[in-house]
Amino acid sequence: MGMTSTEKILARASGQEEVHAGQLIMADLDLVLGNDITSPVAIGEFARFGTDRVFDKDKVALVPDHFAPNKDIKAATQCKCVREFAHKMDITNYFEVGEMGVEHALLPEKGLVSAGDVVIGADSHTCTYGALGAFSTGVGSTDMAAGMATGKAWFRVPSALKFNLTGSFRPYVSGKDLILHIIGMIGVDGALYRTMEFSGPGVASLSMDDRFTVCNMAIEAGGKNGIFPVDGKTLAYLKESGAREPRIYESDPDATYEKVYEIDLSTIESTVAFPHLPENTHPISQCGEVKIDQVVIGSCTNGRISDLRQAAEILRGRHVAKGIRCLVIPATQKIWRQAMDEGLFDIFMDAGCVISTPTCGPCLGGYMGILAEGERCVSTTNRNFVGRMGHVKSEVYLASPAVAAASAVAGRIADPAKLD
């Protein structure tokens, strides 16, 4: 009986020849991740184990990024808790402000994830690393604590949905539009408990940054993990990041899928998810007149260099509409420097944007761009739930960097292909 790439990775990690959907397994972990929100709870649970060290100090990553740089005294206390734990446990991969970034952009960049790995993170968007051909999934703080102590986690092997991609994107369309399109099609629980496997000839045309964005939002369809096959682009990325030797697993031709979706990339329009669910999508041509107050370009979904380049291409020689705030948040220090060196900051500043240090801040309504009652924001982030970015009566519209930049210029939701 054939296996999917996810089943093969989980078989390897649980020391079995074969595993299949529905089976409960105990898997060895290659990396355990936590941030400043989830780690303090995990550290408390870890203490109850009565052990004085983590299973492997090189295989735990702690990234204060959500409310860091510290937004207030309570956040500072939480970051301090993580810092002290990292020091006490001699954690190799603790990233202080100044070297940190938004965790799901940072870890691949630092070469901490390789193909074939099993990764858990106490952050729902840990599914991002499927772009590298890894099995990675979000868990809670208690699972993180157990993972830090034992190097293991239990899983029910997920069944799979396959998305067979053909063709290539139209101009201004990117990975964000693809994943929003898919979530619109299958719904916010359309992939509940399941693997979302992306494959087919269309994969080759997607950049690594596109693939990160697509896998990042697998959780917004309820998915357990998203995963891409490993190709030349993946291997080049892993080599550049200095990641460990990849373990490459391909899905068997006779692997089982609950459903196969055919998607021609050339038919996808720029797509916007309206409040208050990511499944509430509209193609840009049917968005109508939606006036906005703020734009956010950044996050673990769309804060990478190609995202910033796409936004800069739209903003070059243009200006943010009067009265609109446009926040640009490069996801890591490396991306920040790269954007600066490429001259993107000049473009953003000339256009009237503000450029922030890396942080998750506004995405989850933490700080650095909170919305007031009645305000609307076009954001390249991943969730538009009630109150997500501030007041309960504020609204978040999820979109690509190109749509976000075009909307900042127009002062309303706008199609980057039709900007004056």
């Binding site: 009565g50 939480q78 604590a145 629980d189 357990k224 309504g365 739930f385 309960v392």
Partner: protein, 165 residues
């Protein structure tokens, strides 16, 4: 093990941002979190909830973030069980790991009304609506998860199994 209480009823896709908004995540104190539980969709929840009460919701309960603060806030508020058509997967794991009883029971999610008195039997997965007399059969946990719950959550379970090994 059983739970009995008054029902708070919610729709599909109750997300972790409304269960406990991120603006309160600068603390991990269960009591502080519980003081703001559900406030963005039900501002009266905190003042009305009593120990043992039950949340009944639709599909995909707990979708969104991995914050364990969400099941912690619900548990600390006094809720004795959450019944839903389906749960988002991270919330499902977290609830088991911290010992918040949950049950998937689409028929009860559909029929039970806000304010009804409901009894849940976790061993059998049976939900009884005392107010209407209706009985529904939910999906009890697989044995592996029942063990975790019986041991009082994942940490206790692993500590125990590691000692035995």
């Amino acid at each position: 093990m059983k739970a009995r209480g008054k029902v708070f009823k919610y729709q599909d896709n109750v997300d972790t941002d409304v269960i406990i908004p991120a603006r309160y995540l600068n603390t991990s104190s269960a009591a502080e979190l519980a003081a703001h539980c559900m406030e963005d969709i039900d501002k009266d929840f905190v003042s009305n909830v009593k120990k043992g009460d039950i949340i009944v919701a639709g599909a995909n309960f707990g979708c969104g973030s991995s914050r364990e603060h969400a099941p912690l806030a619900i548990k600390e508020s006094g809720i004795g069980c959450v019944i839903a058509t389906t749960f988002a997967r991270i919330f499902y794991r977290n609830a088991i790991n911290i010992g918040l009883p949950i049950l998937e029971c689409p028929a009860a999610s559909e029929a039970v009304r806000a304010g009804d008195e409901v009894e849940v039997d976790f061993d059998t997965g049976t939900v009884t609506d005392i107010t209407t007399g209706q009985v529904f059969q939910g999906e009890p946990f697989p044995p592996f998860m029942q063990e975790i719950i019986r041991d009082g959550g994942l940490i206790n379970h692993l500590s125990k199994t590691m000692k035995e090994a």
